[in-house]
């Protein structure tokens, strides 16, 4: 890792049943991925209030990753579909307010997809490095 290279900070909200377990599998399988994520475990992606995503971004997180079960596989039947609507609403609002909504990723990663989890984080880190730091990082009064 080159010195002074921008290292994005990603807040990850992962559902307990699929993506969090997938992340666990990536770890136990010793799959390498960049250490840029800070994971918060939720019982379901549908339990994520957009306030927490907004808070992370307004406070300067470079990206937010929301991970849930694949459509049709939600442990609670439909939580991920509801999460998808909330994320769509959030991204529309962020975009209209001139904030780069592509800093928010919603991805479906199952408990068996440790490789996909590692690849997703790798891709997200690369995409955020491309974008550069969240412009709100040093902003006060928000």
């Amino acid at each position: 890792m080159a010195e002074n290279e921008f290292e994005p900070k990603i807040i990850a909200f992962l559902c307990n049943w699929c993506t969090y377990t997938g992340a666990d599998l990536a770890g136990t399988s010793r799959i390498q991925y960049p250490p840029n994520i800070r994971v918060i475990r939720l019982m379901c992606s549908g339990a994520l209030d957009p306030v927490y995503v907004s808070k992370a971004l307004l406070d300067g997180a470079d990206g937010v990753l929301i991970g849930g079960c694949h459509p049709g596989d939600c442990h609670y039947q439909t939580g991920n579909y509801k999460a998808r609507r909330r994320v769509a609403i959030l991204k529309s609002i962020l975009k209209q307010l001139g904030f780069d909504e592509e800093r928010v990723w919603l991805r479906w990663i199952s408990a068996s997809e440790g490789r996909l989890f590692a690849d997703t984080v790798t891709q997200m880190v690369a995409a955020l490095k491309e974008k550069g730091p969240n412009p709100l990082k040093g902003a006060w009064g928000i």
Binding site: L58, R84, R86, A88, I89, L97, A139, W140, G141
Partner: protein, 378 residues
């Protein structure tokens, strides 16, 4: 609105007013109560001092002397009040007299399970515009007959405010001033209310009131279409200005620079129904040391913190159901144009789901439903 689930067949007719449209409307409302068509009537009445109008819940027809359903003022949205008087269930049949925006908000609240419409008979009246409460009080104290002023221009579809005053900002960009839901709709646009009122009523109600179908003049639709286009043009100009001002987060900061974080916009929003708003929970009672950490990280922070977060979160929580009543504007001590923000941003968010708040009880609210095959790219 028992039959309101699917669109009921409506009877159209005219009622002669003999130069006194107010008495004609009051007469119909009084009949609903006197003839036992309903057990109670919720209707705006003048307060004793004469400078304000409040919704009243009336069981005794003798207590209807101050009826003023056309008064151009909306101190509280009636949708909230209907929620109060129906939410835990009532046996009584209640007629409620509401504006178009109030009916739309009520439709949202019913779908959000915050009100019950089963025992309601909704009476909607064409809205000629509303003043801020303080302006209405001011005009009333000066002896201005605000209702007569507006009725004089209803036929031409050009209701405009008293010289030197303006309508509430939300009304100036309101394109849905004619109620499209309700069991009884009283039309004022397109024909002189001094001659007759243009009524639409459900078949059942028309029968009880002895109303015989009569054609409504075609002028009504034309006048409504013209005014709608004018309002849409005004709305789009205002939306464009908003989008110009709020092009980025610092634009939003500037837009909300005088916000004093009183939460009045949330308290007065008919859609913000949460008994315990997240912003009033311990989630935002941060540990004192946290503020030091934030200040250390950013160099400095504004206090109170999270002003933008409050507004952005409220957008996330309720913008899909925002009916544009503008109660947030009216409640803001800093006169912030909150309603514009919600309506402009809501326009795009609602379009994602082809959703029009208040349109129908049959369309579920977007945040309470989903389709399996949608939003693939999110």
């Amino acid at each position: 609105m028992a039959e309101g689930r699917s669109t009921p067949h409506m009877i159209r007719t005219l009622i002669r007013t003999d130069g006194n449209p107010r008495e004609a409307i009051n007469g119909i409302l009084r009949r609903l109560l006197e003839e036992g068509i309903v057990d109670a009537l919720m209707v705006p009445q003048r307060v004793a001092s004469g400078d304000n109008v409040v919704q009243t819940l009336v069981r005794d027809p003798a207590r209807l002397d101050g009826m003023d359903p056309l008064a151009p003022v909306m101190p509280v949205t009636a949708a909230r009040l209907v929620s109060n008087i129906t939410m835990t269930g009532v046996k009584e049949r209640i007629a409620v007299v509401m504006r178009s925006c109030e009916i739309r908000a009520l439709v949202e609240l019913v779908k959000l399970q915050q009100a019950k419409a089963d025992n309601l008979l909704i009476v909607g009246i064409d809205c000629l515009g509303t003043y801020e409460v303080t302006d209405y009080a001011d005009l009333s104290r000066q002896g201005v007959d605000t209702v007569a002023e507006l009725l004089a221009h209803a036929a031409a579809g050009d209701p405009h405010p008293h010289d030197g005053k303006s309508f509430r900002a939300a009304c100036q960009m309101c394109e849905r001033f004619v109620p499209t839901a309700g069991d009884l709709r009283i039309g004022l646009f397109g024909a002189s209310p001094d001659e007759f009122l243009q009524l639409e009523a459900t078949e059942a109600l028309a029968e009880k009131l002895g109303l015989k179908p009569e054609p409504i003049p075609a002028e009504r639709e034309r006048v409504i279409a013209v005014l709608t286009q004018e309002r849409i043009a005004a709305r789009d100009r205002i939306f464009a200005e908003f989008r110009q001002r709020v092009k980025n987060i610092s634009g939003l900061q500037a837009y909300l620079s005088t916000c004093i974080r009183c939460h009045n916009c949330m308290v007065n929003c008919p859609i913000c129904y949460c008994k315990e708003c997240i912003f009033r929970t311990p989630i935002f009672d941060h540990e004192s040391e946290k503020y030091q950490q934030w200040a250390a990280r950013k160099g400095a922070i504004h206090l109170p913190t999270d002003t933008l977060l409050f507004h952005i979160t409220r957008l996330n929580h309720m913008v899909t159901s925002c009916v544009g009543c503008g109660m947030c504007d009216s409640a803001c001590p800093s006169n912030l144009p909150i309603a514009v923000m919600f309506r402009a941003i809501g326009q795009e968010v609602q379009a994602l789901f082809d959703y029009e708040p208040g349109r129908s009880l049959d369309d579920p609210v977007p945040v309470a439903t989903f389709r399996e095959d949608e939003l693939e790219g999110v």
